[in-house]
């Protein structure tokens, strides 16, 4: 008798649970139109392809700058970091900071593909990031400098040992001058200092897509951007390489940084 009774009450409890969960589901369904991120997260990819005009860019090939210099690159590396996706309504989705540092190298095509997982489903109309490394990370304890930020491995050649900070853009190569060629070296960094100010060459970039890009489970849109290394030498300042073939940590670094601020352009979506 007692057993039966408890079974009965167990059944009614179960029934109640089933009913409640069904209504809960209903409610969720009804609200789907209002809630902007109910679906499962998706992925998004960025492809930063080096190009000069309509042509692919290659290391070792001749290019003519705005100032008329004939140059060849042997290296073109730069950091992008602090990515934020701009939603249709203008709000931002910030990529978790520690998965938001990238070193893109002209001699490593894979490094030019950036892949974000776990992006809330929805429509996105643009992206923000910086060319360089933010000041907080530039002053972070060594243990927080992993991957492309590790001065000994990932960031080798992109870190100044005598002046805490990373080289944001590193371009090296040769430039023709009458009767010979000279080497050029542009190592542009400086994050503005931590406790006392220094030059700040961090460049914020915002790119708007030509359409709203939908992110959802099972879909992986690819945002294709073009990066023109020759932009280092034009707009706003037409820069003649033989006048200053080496610029590292010096006030002139600002000229090059101001120039490359617009070197990345959105092109199309796959």
């Amino acid at each position: 008798m007692v057993m039966k009774k408890s079974f009965k009450s167990l059944y009614s409890v179960l029934l109640l649970i089933v009913l409640l969960s069904v209504t809960a589901c209903k409610k969720k369904d009804e609200h789907q139109h209002d809630d902007p991120t109910p679906a499962k997260p998706g992925e998004i990819e960025f492809h930063f392809e080096n190009r000069v005009g309509s042509l692919k860019f290659y290391l070792g090939e001749n290019y003519v700058t705005e100032a008329g210099d004939t140059i060849k690159f042997t290296m073109f590396n730069y950091y992008l970091s602090n990515f934020q996706l701009i939603k249709e309504d203008g709000s931002l989705h910030t990529i978790p900071k520690d998965s938001s540092y990238f070193l893109l190298k002209a001699n490593d095509l894979e490094s030019q593909e950036i892949h974000f997982k776990n992006i809330p489903a929805g429509k996105y109309k643009g992206v923000r990031f910086i060319i360089g490394i933010d000041s907080l990370k530039s002053a972070a304890p060594a243990e927080q400098r992993t991957g492309v930020l590790d001065p000994a491995t990932g960031a080798q050649g992109m870190y100044w040992s005598w002046n805490t900070g990373y080289i944001f853009v590193k371009a090296e190569g040769t430039c023709k001058v009458p009767d010979s060629t000279i080497n050029f070296r542009y190592h542009i960094g400086l994050f503005g200092g931590y406790s006392t100010p220094t030059i700040n060459n961090i460049k914020n970039v915002e790119l708007m897509f030509n359409q709203n890009v939908e992110v959802k489970e099972g879909k992986k849109p690819n945002i294709h951007c073009y990066v023109n290394p020759l932009e280092m030498f034009k707009t706003p300042t037409t820069f003649s390489i033989p006048t200053q073939p080496t610029i590292m940590a010096s006030p002139a670094s600002k000229t090059i940084a101001d120039n490359y601020a617009d070197m990345i352009k959105f092109d199309h979506v796959h």
Partner: protein
């Protein structure tokens, strides 16, 4: 020494097991001794980082809570190991000698690999956790990243980090030391730098007579007290107590043109920073001669003479020095007498920090 075996619980087991255990312990004890034959084993219990009561808050984000005896000993081993340099001739300790408060005694500028000379006078290593940045120009912001500068500088150790890591991996002793320090044999440059930081962060100099006076444990002599009063009147706005630096960059009028070395300007690239250098701490200055960023003054007397009569009115000269610091001979003697109370003999004799 902690063994991962609970001896008390084994008491009820057969005496044979205990016999084996004792044998094993004796053997491993023997092995340990052999392995660390080169390292002096501290007799006292390991004392980690501490903040002296009369010191301000630390300035570094470096995590001192992770310092343990093994990581400290690893840092010490690295600090005195010349394999950090390209040809195994120069260690950190070559230019940072304990008896000179970790400076390179007698050298105006530092003397590195291949007998090459740097541009600047070696700075002491002391009370590092209270600094916001390092070197005469403040170019390095993190304690554990300072060593990269010395290791990779072509006139200091002229080596690169990946090669150092390779050398450490090939060594017989380091993999075990890294395991003891960090829980895994994996050797990375970051761990190496952190271990060096664990060693150097404990270089705390807080036991000078001045400190004892501040703690109420001692009294200045009459002359020292006169010197202290003069010091507070003329010097302490830049050499701020109790660390004896306010961590700013200033031009103290030692030269008119800065062609070889522009100091802070080389880091900040800000106009007006030419010829400014970090105000150095005065602690242990009895051991750190010669003085100034280029080691131009051999004695403290020369330094005081500079401030009282030698200052050049350079455009970036610190406003506090425009009228020089008028001091008569007696006043200079008194100040010198006070400055010697900043000597911390226990620091330069501390066994835990010494090479041998």
């Amino acid at each position: 020494m902690n063994y991962p075996i609970d001896l008390i619980n084994l008491r009820n087991q057969s005496p044979l097991i205990i016999g084996w255990l004792i044998l094993f312990l004796l053997m491993s004890w023997g092995c340990k001794k052999n392995d660390s034959a080169n390292l002096p084993t501290p007799k006292e219990e390991f004392k980690g980082f501490y903040k002296p009561n009369h010191f301000p808050d630390i300035q570094q984000p470096f995590d001192v809570s992770k310092i343990n005896e093994s990581s400290f000993l690893l840092g010490k081993r690295l600090f005195y190991d010349p394999i950090l340099s390209r040809d195994s001739t120069v260690s950190c300790g070559s230019c940072h000698i304990q008896s000179s408060a970790f400076t390179q005694h007698g050298h105006d500028v530092s003397h590195g690999i291949d007998d090459l000379l740097g541009r600047r006078n070696t700075l002491p290593i002391q009370n590092l956790m209270w600094q916001k940045n390092y070197l005469w120009d403040g170019g390095i912001l993190n304690l554990e990243l300072v060593a990269i500068n010395a290791i990779t500088s072509p006139v200091e150790m002229d080596e690169n980090l990946p090669r150092v890591v390779e050398k450490l991996k090939r060594s017989k002793i380091y993999p075990k030391m890294f395991k003891d320090a960090f829980g895994s044999e994996e050797i990375t440059s970051i761990k190496m730098l952190v271990a060096l930081g664990h060693f150097m962060a404990l270089f705390i100099s807080d036991k000078s007579k001045y400190d004892d006076v501040m703690k109420g444990k001692a009294q200045f002599t009459e002359q020292e007290q006169r010197g202290y009063n003069l010091f507070k009147q003329h010097c302490s706005s830049c050499h701020k107590e109790p660390l004896f630096t306010d961590e700013t960059f200033r031009n103290n009028g030692i030269q008119q043109f800065f062609t070889i070395d522009k100091g802070r300007y080389e880091i900040s690239l800000m106009e007006g920073d030419e010829g400014k250098f970090k105000v150095p701490s005065l602690r242990n200055l009895e051991f750190t001669a010669p003085y100034m960023h280029d080691g131009r003054f051999k004695t403290l007397q020369e330094v005081l003479n500079h401030y009282s009569s030698g200052i050049i009115n350079y455009p970036n000269l610190d406003p506090l020095l425009v009228n020089k610091i008028p001091l008569n001979s007696q006043e200079k003697e008194d100040i010198l007498s006070f400055l010697k109370t900043l000597t911390d003999r226990s620091f330069i004799q501390e066994k835990r920090f010494s090479e041998f």
